[in-house]
């Protein structure tokens, strides 16, 4: 680039910067300022060459910012000040100048307040991010109490039900490491499928900590959940972005799933705390980073399901529907998603269920784009050996299963210990089941002590009993 062209480019850029000044100032002095800028650049190019430009441009940038604030403030208050013909020195160099008179002049004060506010907002943004990072490392949940006077029948972020405090394992730093490790998988995969043990405090605490991570929205904006009926996706969308949604309407999202008869779906399990948290986060996130919760359960309309046969049609599609939803709402849109599903939908090579599960379906349609991970915690036949293979003392810890000794351990020795069957073929190794595992240590898992408010609702309890009567086979 020759010097004339460089000069023109710089002048054009400076003219763009001038557009930020108040219109009267720009019209009065814009041309001269551009000319002055051009003269300066030309002088520097002649004297020092292009290498002399960066310090000058830096100085000009600082000058632009400072004078911009001053002119904007002056455009608001200058007429009265000038009428007093008292302030030839309003320029303020630096902004707070004017203290020679022992007390700052009012424009200098205004400039000071403006600059302080800017600095405050910049610093507080950083502070908020830091707090969010710290929160993400703490597995404990907050107690969000009902807001006094909140209108009944409508759920708002701060008037939602009490979230139980989890008193399980506390290892904030390790949790932060696990979260960071998990989120880093989005650099290589489009889907991170997180398998949970339903109703365990450890899983719920981890999911909430993960969602609170300020890095999550930058990595993946979609969260696909098992506990949401996809028939009510529009309700979910409206609630998540902050709209007021009637409580009775919102509860259908998790009360009316295919699992409602088999899991005695309550209102205080995983769903409301997670939704409340995401809705609250969305209020603080810019539009481009807002999280979306996608319901993955088949779109069953319980008002129309009256026979076991019609129920089974939906039950049999519990992996197919979320795979379709993820394909349509995430992958085809070139987006990424955190998928939170029961571990049975995540494990590869699970032969206990005859139809392919969610991750298997995704692997088939989109090979190599899903990272499957699940949590193990408690004592297993192979726990001692597992512990001996982990040098890091932190728990929980994210362990990679590909190409590691941990990955060669027998899957059946760790999974399905609570059920009287082997879920996997003999000698199937952990690395064949998933890509990673979150090991939370030998302490036993804790059940979430949920007060089932659903049971306190006689009409819903009656409806649940009807649904149970339609169940074709024992729970999966």
């Amino acid at each position: 680039m020759n010097r004339i062209r460089l000069l023109e480019c710089l002048c054009r850029a400076y003219r763009v910067l001038l557009a930020a000044y108040p219109r009267t100032f720009r019209r009065q002095y814009g041309t001269e300022m551009t000319q002055l800028f051009r003269d300066c650049c030309r002088g520097i190019l002649q004297k020092s060459g292009p290498l002399g430009l960066p310090p000058f441009l830096l100085h000009t940038g600082v000058d632009w910012l400072g004078s911009l604030v001053r002119e904007c403030v002056a455009s608001v208050c200058a007429p009265a000040e000038l009428a007093r013909a008292h302030n030839p020195a309003l320029d303020g160099t630096p902004g707070f100048y004017g203290s020679d008179r022992y007390s700052p002049r009012s424009p200098a004060l205004i400039i000071g307040v403006a600059l302080s506010l800017i600095v405050f907002f910049v610093l507080s943004e950083g502070f908020n991010q830091r707090i969010a990072q710290l929160e993400s490392r703490t597995p404990d949940l907050e107690i969000v109490r009902s807001r006094p006077g909140a209108s009944r029948g409508r759920l708002r972020s701060s008037s939602l039900v009490v979230i139980p405090t989890v008193s399980g394992q506390r290892s904030p730093v390790a949790n932060g490491k696990v979260i960071a490790g998990l989120l880093s998988q989005f650099d290589r995969f489009d889907i991170v499928a997180l398998g949970e043990w339903h109703g365990k405090e450890e899983d719920q605490a981890f999911q909430l900590a993960l969602i609170r991570s300020p890095e999550l929205p930058k990595k993946a904006r979609n969260i696909v959940v098992e506990w949401g009926n996809s028939l009510y996706q529009d309700v979910l969308d409206r609630y998540i972005v902050g709209e007021d949604v009637p409580e009775t309407e919102l509860r259908k999202v998790w009360r009316d799933t295919t699992q409602s008869p088999v899991m005695d779906t309550g209102d205080l399990n995983t769903c409301p705390p997670l939704l409340t948290e995401i809705r609250s986060l969305n209020k603080r996130l810019p539009e481009a980073l807002k999280l979306r919760v996608i319901a993955g359960d088949p779109p069953i309309d319980w008002t129309k399901v009256t026979t076991a046969q019609s129920f089974v049609q939906f039950l049999n599609r519990r992996d197919e529907v979320p795979a379709d939803v993820i394909t349509r709402e995430v992958l085809q849109k070139h987006q990424k998603a955190l998928v939170i599903y029961g571990a049975g939908h995540i494990w590869r090579g699970n032969t206990f269920v005859k139809t392919p599960n969610l991750v298997s379906l995704l692997d088939k349609s989109f090979p190599g784009r899903t990272y499957a991970v699940f949590r193990i915690g408690g004592v297993y036949p192979e726990t001692q050996r597992l512990e001996s293979l982990i040098s890091d003392p932190d728990r929980p810890i994210l362990l990679s299963l590909k190409g590691t000794a941990v990955g060669t351990l027998d899957a059946n020795e760790f999974i399905g210990r609570d059920v009287p069957v082997h879920l996997f073929p003999e000698h199937l190794q952990l690395r064949q089941v998933a890509d990673g595992v979150i090991y939370s240590g030998p302490s036993p898992d804790k059940e979430i002590s949920a007060s089932m408010t659903a049971k306190a609702d006689p009409s819903f309890a009656e409806e649940l009993a009807r649904r149970k009567g339609l169940m074709p086979h024992p729970r999966r």
Binding site: E32, L82, N87, A89, D91
Partner: protein, 127 residues
């Protein structure tokens, strides 16, 4: 309208003071003022375009300087340039400010904080 007294306008900021100083003996355009201020202060005070024209705007409003229709710099003239000259009020204000600074300097010397002035003029730099 009340008549403005120089005492009402001091102390001046360094930028305003040096701009007025640069206009004491001759009319100048913005670039000329900028170079002269840098020269007066041994590059310690380098005015950017925003600061310079912000000051000039306020100085014009306060009656310290005025625009000139003449084109003293015939060799380097440009229609886009505006020339500024100091007004009588501006001269009185800059004198009052110089006296204020002088008395402040005298006080500092009395306290042995500042050394007596050396009669060495800073080297002037050509544009």
């Amino acid at each position: 309208m009340l008549k403005t007294r120089p005492a009402d306008l001091i102390p001046l900021t360094p930028a305003v003071f040096h701009i007025l100083l640069s206009l004491v003996n001759e009319e100048r355009h913005g670039y000329g003022i900028m170079l002269d201020v840098a020269s007066q202060t041994n590059d310690a005070l380098q005015l950017g375009p925003g600061t310079l024209y912000g000051c000039l705007k306020r100085m014009l409003a306060a009656g310290l300087v005025e625009e000139s229709n003449e084109r003293p710099d015939l060799m380097n003239d440009d229609e886009r340039r505006r020339y500024y000259r100091i007004t009588t009020l501006g001269s009185r204000v800059v004198r009052a400010e110089a006296e204020r600074l002088e008395s402040a300097l005298a006080a500092a010397r009395a306290k042995r904080i500042a050394h007596p002035a050396k009669r060495v003029m800073p080297e002037r730099r050509l544009p």
